[in-house]
Amino acid sequence: MVIRYALIALLTSGMLGVSFGEEIKDPAEEVKKQKKLLLEVMGVLPGDLIAEEGKEYFHKKGPNGKSCASCHGKDGKGEKMPLVGAYATMPKYYKDIDKVADLDLRIKSCMEKYLGYDPKKISGKAGRKIIVPLATYVASLSNGMKFNVKLDHPKEKEMFEKGKELWYARVGKMDFSCAMCHDKYGGYRIRLQTLAKPKESKVMRYWPAYRYSKDKMWTMEDRIRGCYKQIKVTKPPFYHWAHVALQMYMAVNSNGGVVEVPGFVR
């Protein structure tokens, strides 16, 4: 705990250095610096700790006595339904839920359908506490593998089209779209925040990611909600189709990228 506070203090002072006075730093260099700093202070990256936490949940029994490992095997390496490589093919259509799902939705569905969790109890913040670490762990099982999302099922194609539409849609009182900030003006700054270029960086390969500026692990759903908040559009609730659609669009654009989870971002 003490280490955590010391860390926050260090990070905060680091960020204040950026805000006042000094010239604007190269964002990539800044990320490297923060990563190094964290490793020096903690000896481990917070994202890796969260993936470990996810691994514990993976093997922990749910209300009906089953765990993720009951179906997917120890460490997700079972003979039936292994999860090694699974993330690199997501979002994906799943017959058992008749839906295209991203990591978050797939995990939540499993918890409800196969582990006996009460949907009401895991739909909010309490659910995020389990789902985010689980998502981090499950995604990390694809580390080193290339992203390879296919649009074989009609519902996958439909989701991709919806995602593409949302990506370019100018909406809300700020008239923004994802594309304006992340295609056309990617690399420019809004205040001190350099706008990411998710297509160029093949973004899905390094999410879920640890955000050092918030000291939080985020899945792409958290990231998308954050973006909509900033452009003053009501955030889509977690597990909403818009998350799946946008991730489908970004995932296809991430194909070929090598998975490296947990990511480490500002």
């Binding site: 805000s19 006042f20 006075g21 539409e165 949302l166 370019y168 849609a169 100018r170 909406v171 809300g172 009182k173 700020m174 008239d175 923004f176 779209s177 594309a179 304006m180 900030c181 295609d183 056309k184 003006y185 420019y188 700054r189 809004i190 205040r191 001190l192 925040q193 706008l195 909509y228 559009v233 009501t234 955030k235 889509p236 609730p237 909403h240 818009a242």
Partner: protein
């Protein structure tokens, strides 16, 4: 003593009665679906090139120009000091998020051009007013949000920002 308490209580009740919540905020919560509904111009701009098709351009510009309204007083040149505050207020103009130019504002973005010395170069405050009110009337599909059209800034507030950008007294032009 009792009287004192009653009058304070009365004052509190009085003040709370004066506070009328914003009708839009007060009712039900807005949803994502409602918020992603687009107006015609937003639909036209929603393409990878963020451009208006040539055959729609005249209609687009005409419609956007029609949306521009002026302050009741007719004065489009307000108070630069008020404008300065609006420029840097993230909840109001939020101009600094994309535009540098205010020497005090170091955390400014670079999505838009630097506005340092704006008033020395640009001599038409009415153009500035109209551009802030509705950027799309001049640059269709621009990344610059239509502050007046969406009511993010009132005509009077836009006039204050116009003064901030044009006044020789303003830090922008110092």
């Amino acid at each position: 003593m009792k009287k004192w308490i009653i009058s304070v209580a009365g004052l509190i009740v009085g003040i709370s009665l004066l506070y009328v919540p914003d009708t839009a905020e007060a009712g039900k919560k807005r949803t994502f679906e409602e918020d992603i509904k687009q107006d015609w111009a937003q639909k036209v701009c929603s393409n990878p090139e963020s451009k208006v098709p040539p055959e729609l351009l005249d209609k687009f510009l005409e419609e956007q120009k029609k949306l521009i309204k002026y302050p009741k007083s007719g004065n489009i040149y307000g108070d630069w000091k008020r404008g300065e505050k609006l420029f840097s207020n993230p909840k109001k103009g939020n101009c600094y998020a994309c535009h540098c130019g205010d020497p005090k504002e170091l955390a400014c973005g670079n999505l838009g051009p630097n506005l340092k010395g704006y008033g020395k170069k640009k001599k038409d405050p009415e153009y500035t007013y109209r551009k802030i009110y509705n950027s799309w009337a001049y640059v269709p599909c621009s990344v610059m949000y239509r502050a007046g059209v969406h009511g993010r800034l009132t005509p009077e507030e836009i006039a204050d920002i116009v003064a901030y950008l044009h006044s020789p007294e303003s830090p922008i032009n110092k």
